[in-house]
């Protein structure tokens, strides 16, 4: 009967397995944050747990990879319900639009420039040191 979905019973199971793995990691992350009081969101800790699990098992199985790709390919959709919430903060945005605009545009440009220059500078520094070492 599952074949009607086109995925077949095994395809459906694989998706379920991957989702379960992701949910278990998130669950463990949330519980760990509650227990330890760490200042990071539970899902972020869950991401690290999944990373550790992948490192240990040595590969991304195709089904976990495909499920993650599907979730991440539609990442933008997931911001929508929270984004609509701006309607309840309308007055705040109107009253503080100058600060918000400045932080958004200038802040983002500063971050872009500083990050790019730092990484390029570090690469140059390491390359020079490597050359000195060779001589």
């Amino acid at each position: 009967m599952f074949d009607a979905t086109g995925a077949g019973p095994r395809g459906g199971c694989a998706l379920l397995e991957a989702l379960t793995l992701i949910l278990i990691c998130q669950f463990a992350g949330e519980v760990a944050v509650l227990v330890t009081g760490l200042p990071v969101p539970g899902p972020v800790l869950g991401m690290l747990l999944l990373l550790a699990w992948l490192w240990r098992s040595g590969e991304v199985s195709e089904r976990v990879g495909r499920t993650a790709d599907t979730l991440l390919a539609n990442l933008s959709l997931l911001f929508v319900p929270a984004g609509v919430g701006v309607m309840i903060h309308w007055e705040r945005v109107r009253d503080q639009w100058a600060a918000i605009t400045a932080a958004l545009i200038l802040g983002t440009l500063i971050t872009l420039a500083v990050t790019a220059l730092t990484m390029a500078g570090m690469q140059r520094l390491l390359a020079r040191r490597r050359e000195d070492g060779d001589e």
Partner: protein
């Protein structure tokens, strides 16, 4: 009169989560179509268009945000699993990660601190209040992480969501031009800066330029998600914006 059954249908639909869940998906698919028709210009960001459409619909029907969210929460819930799933692109980049470990680590730390301090500093200069400042601080991190941080520190997660999306659009529109002005020619560097500053929306733009730039952008997005979650709360506590504990 015919409009009595219509009212009854509306009352039934308005009380069930189905209506606004469906509306969210329909509006998003319509926005995606507009985005594709417009040549995938970052100015036609599908999230921005979807949010505008839905707010218009809610205002037209006099629906409260809470009622909308009762339906849309099923989509919202997936932000958590999506954050966990970021481990997978990160793991796929592990070889590049090893080769460029030191430059990446230093750029990550400097970039994440700069993102937080520049947002808060510019906000203070232009007279934002503390709640707005906290909501602004994590804006360069990917939305689920930024919203989690904002909520934990006393900001407004839904305001943060909008600021995150806006940051992504700014980075995607202005980023490539700025990096060219700065004389950056290395796609790894350009991608890393895009992903750190403008998360997923910047990454989508980076993939349009080159696969290497996109991969490094995705890497930066995942790394900065974690670094922001770890560094931003103590940073904001240190500058006195958030109370201890």
């Amino acid at each position: 009169m015919n409009d009595r059954p219509l009212t009854e249908i509306w009352v039934y639909l308005a009380a069930s989560p189905l209506l606004w869940l469906t509306a969210t998906l329909v509006c998003y698919l319509a926005a995606l179509k507009v985005y594709r028709l417009g040549g995938e210009s970052p100015l036609l960001n599908p999230v921005a268009i979807t949010v505008a459409l839905l707010i218009g619909l809610l205002q037209l029907t006099g629906t409260r945000y809470q009622t909308y969210f009762d339906g849309a929460q099923f989509v919202h819930f997936l932000l958590g699993p999506a954050t966990v799933a970021l481990a997978i692109p990160l793991y796929r980049q592990r070889d590049r990660l090893r080769a460029l470990a030191l430059p990446i680590l230093v750029a990550l730390l400097v970039g994440v601190v700069t993102a937080g301090l520049s947002a808060v500093g510019l906000g203070v200069l232009c007279g934002a209040d503390p709640v707005t400042l906290i909501s602004l601080a994590p804006k360069s991190a990917t939305a689920p992480v930024a919203m989690g941080i904002s909520e934990k520190l006393g900001g407004l997660p839904s305001l943060t969501a909008v600021l995150v999306v806006s940051t992504g659009i700014v980075g995607a529109v202005l980023g490539p031009g700025l990096l060219r002005l700065l004389g950056c020619r290395d796609d790894a560097v350009k991608g890393f800066a895009m992903g750190l500053s403008a998360h997923g929306i910047g990454t989508a733009r980076a993939f349009q330029v080159s696969p290497v730039m996109g991969a490094f952008s995705g890497l930066a997005m995942a790394l900065s998600a974690f670094a922001t979650a770890l560094l931003l709360p103590p940073l904001l506590r240190w500058i006195g914006l958030v109370g201890a504990g």
